[in-house]
Symmetry: C2
Subunit: 188 residues, 2 copies
DNA sequence: TATAATAACTAATGACATTAGTTTTGGCAA
DNA sequence: TTGCCAAAACTAATGTCATTAGTTATTATA
């Protein structure tokens, strides 16, 4: 049952992610990808349903990375330490894989069962990590929205050179996160 | 010196912004814009230096709106009230003009003297509004990075249907902002 | 009214994505 | 080993873009 010859979806995705990281998601074209893979571009349609499907697949691929990374980041940690570790990992990933991260946040809308499932897994990590704060259901969800917004916004501004100031990025992250968590503790 | 006939840059930008709002920035093509304006697409080059220039001009146009809006939002207000008002205005704008907002954050890098100037104006509004908190220079800048990240991330997730949960968006905004500001007050 | 500048136009090119139809190839059953 | 079938590659063609070059029309002003 296993095809030995030619491409498979996995290697195609890996190459696509590399291209996106190198040149930006906008420059990930089927032409360029085909060329990188030593193939004519219509051949890619045997593995991927056009450019939209490729981008959606990249988003899922990215989310899978993020889930693994973030689970790893909180092992053996709890409370503030866990949240800070998780945040730092998130931003480090966005820095290392800018094109892949771009694919993730330019889809975001759960456009496939796979991304929906991964979204839930991400959500659950946040919920678990916030348990020690005892915020209650509603406020936990508000808090998660806050954390996701902040992390995504920070990553996005970083990518688009939105931070011009000569000021250490990690210090900014740390300062802001500590302030927010302190506000949470003091009972919002 | 004033040309009476035909297009000018202003009406072109307004039409472009409308198109972007209706169909998303990706679907703002020179073809579509020309058609909307009753003109052939090469004619647009008399007013705009290709698509990249158009998008950059839209970004500046958006920033000008934002500066005006945010200045207006804090008139007669100070402290927490001013910051909450400013945040709400920012998000309201992103909701109302999604395509225009997209142009803004997909450029962001100060790619022209105009956007650089507008960036500084935006920055100064934040600085002024944070003065009552007496955070000192460094921490003020960290805080501004936090606010910008959060607001941008929130707007971006909202636009990409990143918030699936049945949970009021304005309440999330309010909860998160209050927690953060509380954390700031308690001396980070 | 004639001229110079401006802004529209047509035509052409090249990069894409995508589709249809054809050929090649490799696993598997006889 | 041989022949078949399905998968995956290919070529050819189409249509949509952005962009450039070169041409025509129009308007303000001298």
């Amino acid at each position: 049952m296993v095809r030995r010859m030619g491409l498979d979806r996995e290697t195609l995705l890996i190459a696509a992610a590399e291209l996106a990281d190198e040149a930006g998601l906008d420059n990930l074209t089927l032409s360029a990808l085909a060329q990188k893979l030593g193939v004519r571009s219509p051949s890619l349609y045997n593995h991927v349903n056009g450019l939209p499907d490729l981008r959606s697949a990249l988003a899922a691929y990215c989310m899978q990375h993020l889930v693994d990374l973030m689970r790893d980041a909180v092992i053996g940690k709890s409370g503030e330490e866990a949240i800070l570790s998780l945040s730092a990992s998130y931003l480090a990933f966005a820095r290392q894989r800018p094109g892949l991260y771009e694919a993730f946040y330019k889809i975001e809308a759960s456009d496939s069962p796979e991304t929906t499932k991964l979204s839930e897994q991400l959500l659950n990590i946040f919920i678990r990590v916030l348990e020690p704060y005892g915020l209650g259901e509603q406020n936990t969800l508000h808090t998660i929205r806050g954390l996701r917004s902040f992390l995504h916004g920070f990553a996005s501004l970083e990518q688009n050179s939105g931070f011009q100031m000569k000021l250490d990025l990690d210090e900014s992250l740390h300062f802001v996160m500590r302030a927010f968590l302190k506000g949470l503790e003091s009972g919002a």
